[in-house]
Symmetry: C2
Subunit: 434 residues, 2 copies
């Protein structure tokens, strides 16, 4: 019997390719029309940060070169203070390592192209799963009517609002948590300047940390940036308060004046684009009979470490490894893979929530800048023994749970060192940046 | 437009009656056939403990007398040690207060009879909700085909696996936790003795606390008892190990010899009856547009405080109050009701999990018996100022959250007193009962 992969986004085609290369027959079901024909559907983030774990998965399939020729490397963060002051913080000690701004649409199309060209994979667009049973049977709504098909295994790669996960959660033996952040996100655009040049440094990820709100921006190949507001839903600094041009312009004038200067479509973007939700989802087990989920479907995380896609891709690499170890027993491999990935998925969920606080509050503070510089100095002095948490997460494939444990120990050490320094050089550290 | 109440179990008909008496038009949808025609469906607990909060709801509708004529009052717990020794612990200081063993089937039928007789309520059996929208539209599968209807409000009283809650959880703004206990339950029967008398004292709830497992039994009007095993799913003391008559009899001979002696159908009961799951469900908000949930659908709890039904009935009493306070604005009343009930639902969920540990481990211990006696002595001495947690929960309508806080303070006080005593009378307290 065939293996069903549900969801033709990023994780689904990737999983399909690995399965097909193990010799399995795969049907990939996607509820939307073919994005290469109809154009990508909005409402999702436009660009993403591709880093080591994601690249590792692409390399194993021989796709890394093709993708990496279409990304923009970001070597560090540029922090924007309210007064327009910019401060660059390198992501790595040697200043050369980069995370990569990649278009979700491009990545989706390349992966789908390869899935469609792969012997052993059938891709069915406009096929929506409306029912799933433990025995691998899917009820599928198609343009030609509803059909029902049984599969050897069903792998849900259908994202944070997964239909396959819904079925797994309906078992009373399943532990499930959906924890919304009281903040949402909205995308805005920073077009290329009139003379065709970049409006901001394209070599970094831009952050406007404002404690009660935050904005980031990632570069696109067409020399525009996509900015994302991360704001509370309600309250003084929230989305709810802004309903017309005047209030929108007032807020940006007060909080993001330098960004506003390069956002000619600010008011229209703000009014046209929806506020997306941000949630952490935890699930256990990830399997029920012949059903399984991986990627966001099993462990949606908040986007503040830029690891959602990278973590999902690493799930697929682990599945590939488990297929090898179990002699291609797909159900056994899914079980083993989930057991190995669960602690790592929990770790990156925690780290992403921690980083939310860090990006929002601390990245702009002198304390944080000093701590980052101190970490980098230690890294340069002892590159084998000391690597920052950010580097472990973004530039290695050290398991997330180990990275979290090592990183927390390191940060504690540096914190103690910086606090000792604090006692000596009080004026520097007491000065706030905003 | 009409108000939909989804679920014709215990909470649904009760909510329908209160709404109808406020002058609302109510349609009650139940997916099963009429239990008065087809007999009650199995798989649910056969009897329940009705206490003050549940009785309060029934009194407000004028139904308490009818129900209370068909219950068996239980004035305390009878603990059964492995050697057959029995110890009775009164639930109240004066020994007169009782919780009431009631048949779920009888209660369901009486409530449905009254709902069917109530002007303003339409009861539709064999109507299963297959879709629910924020605007109050329900897609309903009926014996005559699928229909779609909009309602002013939809109140999901459809239990721990609520379809209405599923829709509310699908909003990314909803916080949801489903936390399974690694234990399940299985029902067994203790028939009346051959001479027609009770096999055990019918005036109490029977508990066989075994630390790694537990059994309870509640009396029925026909002089039988329904026993419920609460065992881990797996492991040495779990359900998983027992598959045939020999292993079942061995386990009972070792752990429940006195109960086994009055269980002639033990092996058949054990093999025929399913293992049910035990979960705690937490949700917030309880509403989404015109959809709302109350009772188990909003806050399923483990059954160890005997408060699941009583808590659901108290939700309905609060809804009745809120309808009065909002001038019968049903949506506003549901919102207000949920805000007031949420902390109490959380409190009884916590207390039920605490009581799991207490019933399993401590109820059989000399320490616990001494603490209970000390509490009762204090209660008799200062009845206004001192009431045990159990009494606050079971014999008053003091809000659960307040009961939890007061009860925990009391228990701490008594714990200190008993520990002081412990230092003096060491031999008594060191002696274990099993």
């Amino acid at each position: 019997m065939e293996i069903a992969v549900v969801g033709g986004g990023l994780c689904g085609p990737l999983a399909g390719l690995f399965l097909a290369r193990h010799g399995h027959q795969v049907t990939l079901y996607e509820r939307r029309p073919d994005p290469r024909v109809h154009g990508a559907v909005g409402g999702r983030s436009i660009n993403l940060a591709l880093s080591a774990r994601g690249i590792d998965a692409l390399e194993r399939l021989g796709l890394a070169e093709e993708i990496l020729s279409q990304v923009l490397p970001m070597r560090g963060r540029t922090m924007h203070a309210t007064d327009g002051t910019q401060a660059f913080q390198s992501y790595s000690a040697d200043g050369t390592k980069a995370i990569n701004s990649v278009s979700r649409g491009m990545l989706n199309e390349v992966l789908l192209d390869h899935a469609l060209a792969e012997p052993g994979i059938t891709v069915l667009f406009e096929h929506q799963i409306v029912g799933a049973a433990e025995d691998g049977t899917l009820d599928i709504s198609t343009p030609a009517g509803q059909i029902s098909r049984q599969h050897q295994a069903v792998i849900g790669t259908d994202g944070a609002y997964s239909a396959i996960r819904d079925r797994i959660v309906r078992s009373a033996h399943t532990a499930f948590t959906q924890e919304p952040l009281p903040w949402g996100y909205k995308e805005l655009s920073i077009p290329a300047a009139a003379d065709g040049t970049w409006a901001l440094d394209p070599d970094s990820l831009h952050i406007w940390p404002r404690r009660h709100s935050m904005m980031i921006a990632l570069p696109n190949l067409d020399r525009s940036f996509t900015a994302t507001l991360f704001w509370p839903h309600t309250g003084e600094h929230g989305f709810a308060g802004l309903g017309d041009a005047a209030t929108i312009l007032d807020r940006f004038r007060a909080e993001y004046p330098d960004a506003m200067a390069v956002m000619p479509n600010l008011v229209d973007d703000y009014l046209d684009n929806p506020v997306g939700p941000l949630s952490t989802v935890r699930l256990w087990p990830w399997t029920l009979g012949r059903l399984a989920v991986i990627g966001d479907a099993a462990h949606a995380v908040v986007p503040f470490y830029g690891q959602g896609m990278n973590c999902a891709f690493e799930d697929v690499v682990e599945l590939d490894r488990c297929l090898g170890e179990t002699g291609d027993d797909v159900l056994a491999a899914l079980q083993l893979c989930s057991e190995r990935r669960k602690p790592n998925a929990d770790a990156i969920a925690d780290l992403a929530l921690d980083n939310f606080v860090e990006m929002r509050d601390r990245a702009g503070s002198p304390w944080f800048r000093l701590a980052t510089r101190a970490e980098h100095r230690l890294e340069r002095a002892m590159p084998d023994r000391f690597m920052s948490l950010y580097e472990l997460v973004s530039f290695t494939t050290v398991p997330y749970s180990e990275a979290r444990n090592r990183g927390r120990r390191r940060r504690k050490l540096v914190g103690a060192a910086v606090s000792a320094l604090d006692a000596i050089s009080e004026p520097i550290l007491r000065r706030g940046s905003h």
